[in-house]
Amino acid sequence: MNVLRTFLVRAGYAVVLLTAVLVLNFSLMHLAPGDVADTISQSMGGADQELLDQIRADYGLDQPFLVQLGRYVGGVLQADLGFSFFYNEPVTKLILERLPATLLLVFSAQILALIVGVVLGVISAQKPNGIASYLVTFTALFGYSAPVFWTGILLLIAFSLQIPIFPVAGMRDVTVDGNFWVEAADIARHLVLPMITLASVFLALYSRLARASMMEVLGSDYVRTAKAKGLSPREVVYKHALKNAVSPVITLAGLQFSAVISGAVLVEAVFSWPGLGTLAFQSIIARDTPTILGILFFSALVVIVGNLLTDLALRLVDPRVGGRK
């Protein structure tokens, strides 16, 4: 019952948030000078005024602002995200084609960052002044400070050019043709570098937080008790301390979800990963309002779902969360 109510309240917030995202962004896009007719003419090497006017009329861009906004919101209410001016395709189709790639990248990077981050954090927490701890801190800060496009290019130079074990760009090799497993292996091979690049940023956050919270937990009474009982240090850390130390990390991971998605835009651009990030980047440059709004809509959805999943995960590791008696 409680869970259901929480869910309904969340869903209510989500609707308000999504409407605000749409209306605000539509207005902002409209404030900028120039429009998609200009970029269409750019992609064609120039067009005369007559053709520009015709393009604007075709897409209803010559209508007053409120009419355009009304039409758009009306369409969304009927589950129609509109038609991409630039790509000549329904926005929903365009996005659904790209969404799986982004989800794959974002979730795998998030999971990688979480697992590796927690492991590194736990290791360094046990000997806070040891060499391993400094190494972890250094790596983490390096990953956090370096811009992702730079990390990406460096990894490409190292592992695609000098030691050519990973492909340069894209998500699959079109010459690879085989059953599901062959193709999955191919996608995995393409995924490695972008995943590491994206994870490197968040790895730092998670490992620092895991380290801090692990150190706190290791200093608490029940850990001392466990040690006094004569449990091995291994058991103390992994059986007793870890569960408590990890819950702030999971909370942070949930809060970071939107940051991971925006990080994905740059990573996708560097690796030509055919996801929403590349599409978002190109549509913003092309001023393709329906596509941009559609992507923002879907990103907002993904963030909301990501947060819900985080909540669920928290309930699993920490029974106190969720107000159960």
């Binding site: 900028a32 000078p33 120039g34 429009d35 998609v36 200009d38 970029t39 269409i40 003419s41 750019q42 992609s43 064609m44 090497g45 120039g46 067009a47 005369d48 005024q49 007559e50 053709l51 520009l52 630039f86 790509y87 000549n88 395709e89 365009l94 084609e97 790209r98 290019i153 490409l156 130079i157 695609s160 050019l161 050519p164 492909p167 340069v168 760009a169 894209g170 998500m171 699959r172 079109v174 010459t175 651009a269 560097v270 690796f271 030509s272 055919p274 996801g275 590349t278 599409l279 190109q282 913003i284 440059i285 001023r287």
Partner: protein
């Protein structure tokens, strides 16, 4: 002797057919998959309704045009076996190849040619290509006669490359003519007339093409497949050329990357293949505004801006010199025009003479715009260079292309860096910049507000002059006036380069580059 002559003629003809790209010393091989690249997503694969360099490459593979061109700018038969221009220049007869078929097996007829002209006239942005075409007569299945309202020599180049794609009427004729640009079969289930047919277009990933076995030229194309990957990041493309993931790619324009790839074993990097597209970089000046209305001020600016620095320092030697609105590779180019080597004394003298004396180290203020980040160095350089002669320049960045395009289209600027393409015949891509009836009509029109009756007259005469030599003379005078009056100061060509590996035979380096069918390109074993 007679025999020898015959042999010579035959081999010359054969060489003409074979030699798009390099002289083919070795025998081409059938088969293989060429992996190549597009630098951005394709908006539309149907080149009859969408122009531009990204559409050009797949478009010219999917759709055949009546003519193609050799390296010397001479038209060659393609879908039209022979052609004939009438004495008065008012009708052009195309005799189509007899056995040509669309990808669905239907024969290509003169009806389709007539239909395609109609579609292009209604949808393609370059209206000047077919504007004088009043009707297309189809006396029989393989003869199409284009009836013109006035002689139109530009039609020849407009019938080649990506500019005149022949579409199947029975596929694209099911919607009103103006709606072909959004036809569902433009990017999916496309039925074309060219050497390759569409297997799949995945937005953001790739375009895959496959050999069309019933192509009307026997034994061609040589390749089995072409995979065009979409990689938007130039650095990632460079790595992919280097590690062998890509066999070939065109339109690379970053000097640093071009020079780096030149040093890689097994790769050739060449500026050949861009003559017809003709990309030019220039400094545009609004001739209707403030001090720039005075021709002496524009000349002074040219004297103060060092072209050598732009070509050799900023473009690192990758860009060629250009002096007029016509690309240096074009047969109409006239290099013998006034030039403006760096000369600050002359610049100062001209500015004094124009009535802008130096006061406290300053004469007047100007702004300079730019539309994309790649040309920021040029713009910053102009600012620094003009400060030396007392012109204070403010750099106005634009958030994105549409912002800049709007400023240009409304002539709300003093100076701007700009890149404009020739697109084949000067009538198509050159006239628009200087024609006084085309002032301020959107981006890449005559945004400089330039008006000169003699220039208008020369362009009008050149547009209808059938004799190539006389046309050349008209354009020579036109270029001289432009280079004197400087509505734009031409600094260099845009350094487009084609990169290809040693495995590629006959890369497309003709005048249209990759915007032509690559039916002669092959992969060495």
């Amino acid at each position: 002797m007679k025999h020898l002559m015959k042999g010579l003629v035959a081999s010359a003809a054969l060489a003409g057919v074979l030699a798009v790209g390099q002289a083919a010393a070795e025998e081409p091989v059938r088969g293989g998959t060429l992996v190549t690249v597009l630098g951005s997503n394709v908006r539309n694969l149907n080149s009859a309704v969408q122009s531009g360099i990204v559409t050009g490459f797949p478009g010219a593979q999917l759709f055949a045009s009546p003519l193609r061109y050799d390296e010397d700018w001479t038209p060659q038969p393609y879908l039209a076996e022979t052609w004939e221009v009438s004495e008065d220049g008012l009708s052009v007869t195309l005799n189509l190849v007899q056995n040509a078929k669309f990808h669905d097996g239907t024969p290509i007829t003169s009806e389709d040619v007539a239909f395609s002209v109609e579609v292009i006239k209604a949808n393609h942005p370059f209206k000047s290509m077919f504007a004088p075409v009043e009707s297309v007569e189809t006396p029989d299945e393989h003869t199409a006669i284009l009836k013109l309202s006035k002689p139109h020599p530009a039609l020849m180049l407009a019938m080649s490359g990506q500019l005149m794609s022949i579409l199947p009427k029975h596929i694209y004729g099911d919607v009103p003519i103006e709606e072909v640009k959004t036809h569902p079969r433009n990017n999916e289930g496309t039925v074309g007339s060219g050497p390759f047919k569409l297997v799949e277009y995945k937005s953001g990933e790739h375009v895959i093409l496959e050999r069309f076995d019933d192509f009307f030229i026997d034994g061609r194309p040589y390749l089995d497949r072409i995979v065009m990957r979409i990689i938007t990041d130039p650095a990632a493309r460079a790595i992919a050329y280097e590690n062998g993931e890509l066999h070939m790619g065109a339109f690379e324009s970053l000097p640093r990357i071009i020079n780096r790839l030149k040093g890689v074993d097994g790769l050739t990097v060449t500026p050949e293949g861009y003559g017809a597209i003709g990309p030019l970089d220039w400094l545009a000046m609004n001739t209707q505004k403030g001090p720039l209305a005075d021709v002496r001020v524009r000349q002074a600016i040219a004297y103060a801006v060092d072209k050598n620095f732009i070509q050799n320092a900023l473009m690192q030697g990758t860009a060629a010199d250009s002096r007029t609105g016509i690309h240096p590779d074009s047969p109409f180019y006239n290099a013998n025009v006034p030039t403006y080597d760096l000369d600050l004394d002359k610049a100062n003298a001209l500015l004094d003479e124009a009535g802008f004396p130096m006061q406290d180290g300053k004469r007047f203020d100007l702004t300079i715009d730019f539309g994309w980040p790649g040309v920021k160095p040029q713009v910053e350089y102009v600012k620094a260079a003009l400060k030396k002669v007392g012109i204070e320049v403010e750099v106005r960045a634009s958030a994105d292309f549409p912002t800049w395009a709007k400023r240009m289209g409304e002539m709300d600027f003093d100076m701007s860096w700009d890149t404009v393409f020739n697109w084949g015949d000067p009538v198509i891509g050159v006239h628009r910049t200087y024609d006084s009836t085309n002032i301020g009509k959107g981006v890449w029109s005559n945004t400089q507000g330039y008006s000169n009756a003699r220039v208008d007259e020369l362009m009008a005469m050149a547009a209808v002059e059938s004799d190539p030599e006389k046309r050349k003379e008209l354009y020579a005078e036109f270029q001289e006036i432009i280079a004197t009056e400087l509505p734009v100061y031409h600094t260099n060509t845009l350094p487009y380069h084609t990169v290809y590996s040693d495995k590629v035979g006959n890369p497309p380096l003709g005048i249209w580059g990759t915007s032509t069918p690559i039916d002669m390109t092959y992969l060495k074993e």
